[in-house]
Symmetry: C2
C-alpha cells in the first residue's frame, strides 16, 4: 500500500494520478480508512510530526523534494530508506533557470537596464562566453545537468564538490581545502549544493570576497537555486552594496516567503524569484515513484537512496 | 597593397595589427601617400562617397561588417567581389546575446521583476524549455550558430529562410508562402536575417499578430539582433502596449543611436541595448581578412562573397 502525506500541494491530484498508474496496487491518503501496518511506502512533502507513527512495515520513505534537508530534521523519521526524487524534467527546469540567469549576468543585464532607464546609449561589449568562468558548487544530478547545458554555450566551467567529479570540459575542485582556488577563478558562482551542516551559510561575505574580480564589469555574480540556508542574506546585501558582488540571482531565502521587510526586494542588482526555479510535476513524479515502487515490489534494489551520514 | 578605410572605429589600431600580420605585404590608410592603382584590397566600414575612387585594380572589397546592407547602397561601389566577415568569434558573441535574451524571456523575467518591485511572492512555474518554441528568422552562419546553442538547452526549434536549410533538430520553413505557418508555431521570434528589400520591415504588427499566443504567459516575444531596418518601431510600441507582444529585446533601431524621444526607452517590457550584441574584434578580424588576402594572392578562390542579386 502507498500512503500519500503531502502538505501545501494538491494531494488529491497526486493520489488519483498514482492510483491510475499503479492500479490495482492500493493508494491511500491521510484521513482515509486504512491499516497503518499495511503501508509499505509513504510519499511525503512537509510531513507533520505524526506522519510516520504506526507505519511499522515501511519499505521506503519517498520524498517529493529533490532536497531532503528539511525531511532529515524530522524528529520521528523512521529507519526505512529514503528515496529522493531524481528526474530529467526537474533537472531540465533547474538548468533553464540557471542558464537564464548566468547568461543574463554575463551579458551585463543590470548595466544595460540602468542605461535604458537613463535613456543612455552607451556601447559596451560584454566578453565572449569563453572569457567568462562559471563555477558550479555541487555536482550531483542538477550540477552536472547545468554544466552540460552551459558547456555548448562556450563558457569556461569549473566545479566544486565534496568528492572529485570528472565531467568533460569542467575543471573539478573538491573538498574544503580546494574552495579558495575554485573561487579565485570564478566570475559567476552557481550554487546547487545539498544543504548539510557543512554547506550551511557557505554563501557568505568571505566567500564572495574570494571570487575573481577583474573580468565581469561590475563585479562577480552569484546564482543560488539550492536552499536559503546556504546564504547569509545580510552578507549578500552588504556585498551587493559595496561592490564585492556585482549582482545576485536568488530563488531561495532564509525565510520563505521572503519577508516584506527584506532589503533584498529593493536592490537593483538583486534578482528575486519566489522559489520557482524547478518544480516536481505530477506527471514526472508519478512516473518516477511508480517505477520505484514496482521495481521494489519486484525485488529490485532501491536507487537514489539518501546517505544519512552525509545528509543527501 | 591593402587600403584601410574605416570610419567610427580605431583605423590606426587595425592598420598596425594588419601590418604586423601581413608583413612584408604593404598596408596603408586613407591620407597615407600611396598609388591608388596599387591597391588590390580595400577594407571598409562606413565608406565615404569617394572611398573607391581611383581604385582601378581592386581584387576585392573587404567588409568589416557581417551585414553589408549599408555598403550595398554605396553609390559608387566598384564591381569587385565583396567579401563579408564570417567569424566564429562574432557568431559566438551574437549567440551569447540571443541565448541570454531568449532564456530570460522564457523564464518570464518581466513578470518576476514586476513582482519583485511590488514585493509580491507569487509562485509561477515557467514551462520547461522543450514546451517553448523558438523560431529563428535567417539561417545563415549566425542563425545556424544560434540554433546549435539553443538546441542543447532543450528548446523546440524552427527556422525560416529564403531557401530551405537542413539543420539537425530544427524544423525548416522557407519562402514567403511558409511564413505564416512558421509564425503560428513560434513563441519567441529571433531575427537574424540579412537586410534586403524583401526583409525590410518584416517585424511589423501583422507579423506579431500571427505568433503563437497560448504558451508563453504574457504573450509571444521578439528578439531583434539583426538590423533596425527590419522593424517597424511604431508597431512594436503598439504591440507591446496591447498585449500582441509580451516583450521585446531590441539591439538595433531604425535610427541609431536611438533618439531620446523614442517611446521604446520607457517600456517595461522592452529591453533596449545599444547595438552591442556582437562586435568584430581586431584580433579576429585581422586573422580572418589576412587569411582572405593571403589565399587570394596564392590564387585560391575568394570565400563568403556577397551575392549582389540577393543582397547578402
Amino acid at each position: 500500500m502507498l500512503l500519500l502525506h503531502l502538505s501545501d500541494v494538491d494531494e488529491a491530484g497526486w493520489a488519483s494520478a498514482f492510483a491510475e498508474q499503479l492500479a490495482p496496487y492500493p493508494v491511500v491518503r491521510r484521513g482515509d480508512d486504512f491499516d497503518p501496518a499495511a503501508v509499505r511506502y509513504v510519499f511525503v512533502w512537509k510531513p507533520t510530526p505524526d506522519a510516520f507513527d504506526d507505519l511499522v512495515n515501511l519499505e521506503a520513505v519517498l520524498s517529493l523534494g529533490a532536497g531532503v534537508d528539511a525531511l532529515m530534521q524530522h524528529l520521528r523519521l523512521p529507519d526505512a530508506p529514503i528515496v529522493r526524487f531524481v528526474d530529467d524534467d526537474l533537472s531540465q527546469r533547474m538548468s533553464d533557470y540557471v542558464v537564464a540567469h548566468v547568461t543574463m549576468h554575463h551579458r551585463q543585464f543590470t548595466r544595460f537596464r540602468a542605461d535604458q532607464q537613463a535613456r543612455r546609449w552607451s556601447q559596451f561589449y560584454p566578453p565572449a562566453a569563453a572569457e567568462t568562468s562559471v563555477g558550479i558548487m555541487g555536482m550531483g544530478v542538477l550540477g552536472q545537468d547545468a554544466a552540460q547545458r552551459l558547456a555548448p554555450l562556450g563558457f569556461t566551467l569549473r566545479s566544486w564538490s565534496r568528492t572529485p567529479k570528472q565531467v568533460e570540459g569542467v575543471t573539478s575542485y573538491a573538498g574544503a581545502e580546494a574552495l579558495d582556488d575554485f573561487l579565485a577563478g570564478t566570475d559567476i558562482l552557481v550554487n546547487l549544493l545539498p544543504l548539510t551542516p557543512e554547506t550551511r551559510g557557505i554563501l557568505n561575505y568571505a566567500t564572495f570576497a574570494k571570487l575573481r574580480r577583474d573580468r565581469l564589469e561590475g563585479g562577480p555574480v552569484i546564482v543560488n537555486a539550492a536552499r536559503g540556508g546556504h546564504q547569509k542574506e545580510a552578507d549578500i546585501v552588504r556585498a551587493l552594496g559595496d561592490g564585492t558582488l556585482g549582482a545576485a540571482s536568488l530563488d531561495v531565502f532564509e525565510i520563505e516567503p521572503l519577508p516584506d521587510s527584506s532589503p533584498l526586494w529593493a536592490l537593483e542588482n538583486c534578482y528575486v524569484t519566489p522559489h520557482i526555479a524547478a518544480i516536481s510535476t505530477v506527471t514526472s513524479g508519478v512516473r518516477y515513484f511508480s517505477r520505484v515502487i514496482l521495481d521494489a515490489e519486484a525485488g529490485k534494489p532501491l536507487v537514489n537512496v539518501v546517505d544519512r551520514q552525509r545528509g543527501y
